[in-house]
């Protein structure tokens, strides 16, 4: 494998002249063991090559003599983080026609940034959590591959899972680079992605006027031509020269943020940890306000406060609207600080469960996708519980046999032993064979929130059962029996009152579906099977939610602001 083992076409060894290949090898060779630097190195190499290609000096320059650049310690992480392929890279880097990310980002973002002198620049702004911790988390799970540095947070995808959130295009409104429109739950995932990208953009764009100058001098350095400075291969960061672009940029960033002590610091002395967005807000309760600019750290809650906030939500007696709002706010604070650990998982799991309980499938799906990604990174959580939910979703929602087969074949032997998963698989078998007796028994004995997911299929199953019984039974079927096997009675209770309400509910249901009912000579209600087989029908679904509480209708949620 060649040292520049990127999947990037620009760095393919065979496409570059030999001397350039040597240059590249020397450049990478210095960072054999440091993945962060290799990533940054790669990015930087690409720029150099792109520029050289653009001015036609790629094949003519004497790469053997070309000075190598240094990649400063921590800056490499941020640089790598900025270069996210699916979002516009810092526009200034992306001069090359070859690698054009979504160019919609660039012009608009630039303009707008100039207008708002990034409020952050006036603060002891801490941008993006360039946390070493986070990245070592990535390296550990991804085997030190460069790709772990290319993707940030929510963009990371596990190719295997089918329940993926599709990569939505960044919706740019007003050049703020963030989704501006109000609410649909599914746009929250966009929001998280755009936040990340926005950070990257924000950092660099902050220095636009200076950047322009830098750009010019950068392109000029190639004009200086070949054979220059043959005796100097390495540059100290403080010297002028192309190598310094990194460091100059870094210092420019520092300057514009007017950090207290750092204005004149050398790159190596910069406290990159200090630049991490460490929230300082101590409020446990915080409403969700979608970010439209870089956040003020005093409004962002640090991890320990978020833990408390989560606990508060879990113990709260208030309704879903409130909890959903709080959770979205927690999620935002987590995303902004790039916290990706068990807390993150707990938050998403909590939100997913709540969403499912009320039937908010959109929110549930969002959380489920995030969880799949987090689990695949090796973060601990209730994997089995959610594997079961995943399975039930595939079974009960899509009719896609291929997806079902794939999900089933992907279960580990360990998963197949888990009770929740076993339950889900049993439900699957019952649904496939149309076995209503088993289905409703499983419904009553469902672990975790499997009931909630099954809820969405109950109506269908009952109808199928009624149709089946009408055809096969003669002459009649006691309603009490139907109520019992179709899950109408409350199994736990034995007292007469509960059973009656189950019976009533069953009667209501049957009537609503056109069943023909008669009373036999003992006074017992019966289903007239033969007659029903021609009168049964599936009524038009009203806009009802599974539990019939219209105040919990999903669209309603999203429209309300309190």
């Amino acid at each position: 494998m060649s040292p520049n083992n990127a999947a990037d076409p620009m760095l393919k060894p065979t496409m570059l002249p030999k001397s350039l290949r040597g240059y590249v090898e020397r450049a990478f060779g210095r960072y054999k063991d440091d993945d962060a630097k290799r990533a940054a190195c790669e990015a930087y190499m690409k720029d150099i090559i792109t520029e050289a290609r653009a001015d036609g000096t790629l094949y003519t320059r004497d790469w053997d003599s070309e000075p190598l650049f240094t990649v400063p310690d921590s800056l490499s992480i941020s640089k790598a983080n900025i270069q996210t392929p699916t979002h516009a890279s810092i526009p200034n880097y992306n001069k090359s026609p070859v690698r054009r990310s979504k160019s919609r980002w660039e012009p608009l973002a630039e303009e707008k940034m100039l207008e708002k002198p990034v409020s952050a620049s006036n603060e002891i702004g801490k941008y993006g959590s360039w946390d070493r911790k986070t990245f070592s988390g990535y390296s550990a799970t991804k085997d030190n591959s460069l790709s772990s540095f290319r993707f940030s947070g929510p963009q990371q995808r596990t190719p295997s899972k089918s329940a993926q959130r599709p990569m939505k295009r960044q919706r740019i409104v007003n050049g703020t680079g963030l989704t501006n429109n109000d609410d649909d739950a599914s746009s929250d995932s966009d929001k998280e992605q755009s936040l990340t990208a926005y950070y990257s953009g924000a950092m660099a764009l902050a220095n636009n006027p200076e950047e322009k100058k830098r750009r010019e001098s950068r392109s000029k350095r190639f004009d200086r031509g070949q054979g220059h400075r043959p005796d100097i291969n390495y540059f100290k960061p403080k010297n002028a020269g192309p190598a310094n672009l990194y460091t100059r940029r870094a210092s420019a960033l520092m300057l514009s943020k007017s950090f207290d002590d750092s204005a004149n610091q050398a790159v190596e002395d910069i406290d990159w940890d200090a630049l991490t967005v460490k929230g300082t807000c101590q409020e446990i309760e915080k409403r969700f306000l979608r970010l439209t600019s870089a956040p003020d750290p005093s409004t962002v809650r640090p991890e320990d406060v978020l833990e408390k906030a989560l606990l508060m939500v879990q113990n709260s007696q208030k309704n879903y609207l409130y909890k959903c709002d709080q959770l979205k706010s927690i999620r935002q604070d987590i995303t902004v600080q790039r916290i990706r650990n068990q807390l993150t998982v707990k938050v998403y799991e909590t939100h997913a469960r709540l969403a499912m309980e009320v039937g908010d499938l959109a929110e549930y799906n969002q959380c489920q996708s995030q969880l799949q990604i987090l689990y695949s990174e090796g973060i601990e959580g209730c994997l089995m519980e959610f594997a079961a939910y995943n399975l039930l979703c595939v079974i009960l929602h899509s009719n896609n046999k291929k997806d079902l087969l794939t999900s089933m074949s992907r279960l580990t032997p360990e998963a197949k032993e888990d009770d929740a998963v076993k339950h889900a698989l049993a439900v699957r078998a019952a649904v496939t064979s149309g076995n209503y007796v088993t289905f409703f028994r499983l419904y009553k004995s469902a672990p975790n929130l499997n009931t909630c997911l099954m809820d969405l299929y109950v109506e269908k199953m009952r109808y199928k059962a009624a149709v089946c019984m009408s055809k096969s039974y003669r002459p009649t079927v006691p309603i009490s029996y139907i109520a019992q096997i179709l899950g109408f009675s409350n199994a736990a209770d034995e007292n007469g009152e509960t059973e009656l309400s189950g019976l009533d509910e069953c009667l209501e249901w049957l009537k609503a579906h056109g069943a023909s009912l008669i009373t036999d000579n003992t006074g017992e209600m019966q289903l007239d099977a033969k007659a029903s087989s021609s009168t049964l029908y599936m009524p038009e679904p009203e806009d009802a939610v599974a539990h019939g509480d219209s105040s919990l209708a999903v669209n309603d949620f999203l429209a309300r602001t309190t």
Binding site: T14, K401, K402, S472, R474
Partner: protein, 413 residues
Amino acid sequence: MAYLSMGESHRRITDYLNRFADAINYQDGDSLARLFSVSSDSPSLLSLADALNVFQDANRLIKQSEKFSQFGEVVAPFFRSLQCYRLGNLVDAYGAFEKASNAFIQEFRNWESGWALEALYVIAYEIRVLAERADRELASNGKSPEKLKGAGSFLMKVFGVLAGKGPKRVGALYVTCQLFKIYFKLGTVNLCRSVIRSIETARIFDFEEFPIRDKVTYMYYTGRLEVLNENFPAADQKLSYALTHCCLSKEANIRMILKYLIPVKLSIGILPKKQLLENYDLVEYNNIVEALKRGDLRLLRSALQENEDQFLRSGVYLVLEKLELQVYQRLLKKIYIIQKQKDPSKAHQVKLEVIVKALKWLEIEMDLDEVECIVAILIYKNLMKGYFAHKSKVVVLSKQDPFPKLNGKPVAS
């Protein structure tokens, strides 16, 4: 590797270039085809690869003569691809090969007749195979495998080039089949739909005109899609076509077709002979067939579990699972036959508890309610004729043909 001189390398490269130019100038499709088959590991291409790696500046040779340079856009990236391939760098090998293929397609477009179709076939094949290997390399490095997907897009373009009125159109089915293989491998089988629609509805295509080899492959894949959709009559028709038109000597292919055809046939009530299963090493179906014959539910379930992974991967698991109802039917029929022997006048009434007992003997514990449900489903799906009397818990069977055979029709859904 034995020492390879610059002179010898030079000779090999020039030799290849000459063959390439000649093949095109004399419209020798077969020769041209052989010049592209990177993954075949043919000695001549491997030795060319070695020569390229030694010589390093093949571009100069290409540019040297008008005879070669006119195909430079194709050959130069092809050389790079071959070099990368030889060095084990599959990702780059794929990328360069795609570039070469692209350039080739541009030329191909301008050629009137279909003389170069063989070469195009090789290219389509190589695109897929190299992409698969590139993806494996990417995956093993922890990167996201996306080359095969790209190969799919590229081949769609190629399909577009062939979908015209001229003689080249007979090549479209081969490219279609490569696309099928890609989509099946990626699991994105829904993408097959658009290309199927083009083949089956476009007037420029006459299915019978396509080469038989491609027709068989096409029917195999479209048959498999029908199996996935549980559309058994259509699956039967397509897979049977593939089977009857497949050359008998291609045993591996026949086995693949049978692997999917057998579950389909079982679903419509047709059982294969044991000999067939043995001849083609499809013994995983043995117990299933046996279970159907005997009405042995326990055997069916254990057979499914034993080969679960295999059946899930091939996608026939759900189809086989559905055979349960037929197994129940057989079991009930046996009970009926036994009762008839004992007392013909009462035989048509089967008590539920008798069925429960029979299942117990098969070590299957099911209570009355569950069995009642199965009975109801069997009647509902016309696997039993009669009705169920809930009060007396008795299945009352029709006096005539209480257990209708499927007769080539799938169980009602």
